[in-house]
């Protein structure tokens, strides 16, 4: 445009800001509270909280030990001794369900955090650095992106074996380029705003500008990515256990349980169905949270205006 739009304040079609002017303005807090207003998010948080609670508290309330033999294999439920029956070897299904959530949740969180740390750093750097650094790093990331996440992980598992740390690391690494892309886009947008130029004019060092001016402005998209990636992490890590590359028998793990017991799915569906249900509900919960955050982000940008 030759002359800039003059009526920027003419936001006639924007609802008056819902944010109370007196309240603390940290951007990610705004996003969180905005998201909380939506029913969807609250359901998501509720679900997530419930499952996490189950996973954490489970072992303490389990009736048996997860490796204890309590009945012949694939025995049907016998309330109140065996609420869910026994599994393919004779363990109590309910116990193994109560024990089986911890690893999935912990590993998924770890993988997400690793991916986030790497991805956000790379995104910030490529979004604000000189052209050649940006191009080189993006090319490299393209290579990682060329592999579906599970394939990349399996590639390295084939060489180094089914080690838990490897799985967490590889899932995290496979998240990194995707997160980096989103972060980079957000960084690029912020970096061309004039307050960044103003800081540059003052002569402030680039890395300081990155952390003090740019990073605080991209926390919301990063928050949304966290929710999204956590959902995928759970799916991936459960799948890897399901494939037999995660937790190994006789450990109690939901993914592993599904695989171990599917052979008897017709006669004793519970040891398959319950973990499947729990994983499914968990991922729906995290996805609802991520979706709520995403909508809050859009809503806030609209109200307070870009910049």
């Amino acid at each position: 445009m030759s002359t800039p739009e003059i009526i920027i304040n003419d936001s006639e079609l924007v609802e008056p800001p819902v944010i109370n002017p007196g309240r603390r303005r940290s951007e990610w807090l705004m996003t969180l509270s905005e998201a909380w207003r939506m029913g969807r998010t609250r359901i998501g948080v509720g679900i997530f909280g419930a499952i996490v609670l189950l996973a954490v508290v489970g072992p303490w309330v389990a009736p048996y030990s997860p490796t204890e033999f309590v009945a012949p294999p694939f025995s049907p439920p016998d309330i109140p001794k065996m609420w869910l029956g026994s599994d393919y070897i004779g363990h109590d299904v309910l116990t193994r369900v109560l024990y089986g959530g911890r690893t999935v949740i912990l590993l998924s969180l770890a993988a997400t955090v690793i991916g986030l740390a790497m991805g956000v750093t790379l995104g910030l750097i490529t979004g604000y650095a000189r052209r050649w650094i940006d191009e080189t790093v993006m090319r490299i990331l393209d290579v990682v992106l060329a592999f579906p996440q599970i394939v990349l992980t399996l590639l390295f598992v084939s060489i180094l074996g089914p080690k838990l740390w490897l799985i967490v690391l590889m899932v995290g690494i496979s998240h990194a380029p995707r997160i980096a892309r989103v972060t980079r886009a957000a960084t690029l947008e912020v970096a061309q705003r004039d307050f960044v130029h103003a800081a540059e004019a003052f002569g402030i060092a680039r890395w300081k500008i990155l952390f003090n001016e740019i990073l605080p402005s991209i926390t919301s998209p990063v928050l949304v990515e966290f929710g999204l990636r956590l959902t995928y992490s759970i799916g991936l890590i459960a799948a890897l256990s399901f494939l037999g590359f995660g937790m190994q028998p006789p450990a109690a793990d939901w993914g592993l349980m599904i695989n171990e017991n599917r052979i008897g799915i017709i006669i004793q569906p519970w040891p398959v169905f319950v973990p499947v249900l729990l994983i499914g509900i968990l991922t729906i919960g995290t996805n609802l949270i991520a979706d709520g955050l995403g909508r809050a982000l859009v809503g806030i940008e609209r109200d307070t205006g870009v910049g």
Binding site: M1, S2, T3, P4, S11, E15, P16, A199, E200, F202
Partner: protein, 607 residues
Amino acid sequence: METTITEGTGTAPAREAVLSVEGLRIVLDPSGVDIDDDVSLVIHRGEVLGLVGESASGKTTVGTSLLDYQRRGAKIAGGSVEIDGRDVLAMDPATLRSIRGAAISYVPQDSSASLNPALRIGKQLIEILEVHGFGASAADREARLAQMMAEVLLPSDKAFLRRYPHQLSGGQQQRVAIAMAFANRPKVIVLDEPTTALDVTTQAHVLDTVRDLTKSYGVAALYITHDLAVVSSLADRIAVMYAGKVVEVGTRDELFDDGHHPYTRKLLASIPDITGERALRGIPGWAPRPGQRPSGCSFTPRCDWAVDKCREAFPPAEDVSPGHRVRCWRYKEVGAHRVADAIHLRDKSLSARETQEHEVISVRDVTAYYQHKETLHGINAVLSERQCLSLVGESGSGKTTLARCIAGLHPHKIVGDIELAGKPLARDARDRPRATRQSIQYIFQSPYSSLNPRKTIAQILSQPLKVFFDLSRNEMEDRMVKVLEQVALDSSLLSRYPDQLSGGERQRLAIARGLAAEPTVLICDEVTSWLDVSVQAAIIELLAALQRDMGLSMLFVTHNLALVRSISQEVAVMNDGRIVEYGLVDAVLEDPQADYTKKLLSDTPTV
């Protein structure tokens, strides 16, 4: 509502009212908050009614309402829009479709967004004829199309019509939109700020086209704009809107010479005067947004004439004379106060150059590049101590590039010398010594982009203080309060965030940030382009006062030639990366030498 003839008001004799808007009310959806309320207008055959307003006046929403259309988020809540007696708002969908584009058409503000990027322009032009069943054959339609294009001075050959919108210039796109609007010889045309995105020269052409076509086809036109200068040359009658209501309506002469509403008067006083006779006076405060309007008359907080009654109820419409209506409790007294008496004359000595001062910034033979392309060619300029130099030009002229080169914000190749007080300046601000960085401060164009929304005002102001000085916390706070005072902002704002301020306040804050560094040179890059006219005037007043009182050397970049007299002593006119004219403001504006300057002067709309 007008049934009587508008006699003796200085306009053409009796004409029928083609468009009659009565009590139009538009609200936000779903909250129901008013955007526009009780809007009533009448437009006659062949008449142009200018609808003037600043931010949050609601004028844009009125435009599409006349076609019974609102974007998502707004809703028409009441009133009527009659074209030749038929109420558009009461029509069924099929009838509505038949009149849109035929009996009433619309010219959008930004044709680069309103023309479909995936369709060739020929197709988009022809379809308005097809849909309304024009002509008996394709040949008929093509003939009309050729005629349409000729009227807007565009070619109609096949090659041109096969172009996509992005292959046309902004001016051409706008002409296409105008051609589409006049295609079916409508009775009413709504033009929504059609020249805002265009440069001055193109704008002049487009205005001429609109004027010619409305007259020759006897169309009733509603011209929506914030720019009173534009509307003064185009409109027969003018309606002024403020905060969702029409506060005054009358002929052009009535409003300009005999305005009866305080806002109208003040608005006129804030228009930059290119002749340099009138001083610029802004209106303090800012226009309230929907939902934040005070009870009673919305203009009360900013009005010199306000009394208690104004806060209690909104004044009804009263006739000053037939056709001249105003909504103000004290309109008689306002009217009695003659406009001519109220004009502040500009202090001419301000643009007189003081005795030869030292050169603060000197630019010698500077050529700047941007990705292998030359954007500045051999620039020579001098900024003297305590003087203000305006850089004037349209977009692409290189004025901002030059300003950025001086400020060290142009990280591309530069050939030539730029010096500060005799010492050469490094190309990149980060390579300059701290003292140099401190001496030259830059105020950016957009107050919405130049302040970090995640930081408090105190944090924003403390940034330069931390970089350039070594102060204790108390000293810093004192400085911040002091600098806020200099720009007429209250120190209570320190704990607030930028998005709690209006556009004008934000720009003052940006200026305060610059002042906090205690510079000797202040570079203002189109600092008022994103502000309302009335707010712009206040900022110009502020900058001029600061420059005088603090003895700053100022570089003032603008595209608006009319502003330069209000703030600077010298002016450099730029075009296409070169300085085409350079000299004292009075000399250049009264007796321009360069052809480009002459053209710019004649194309700039004046009141």
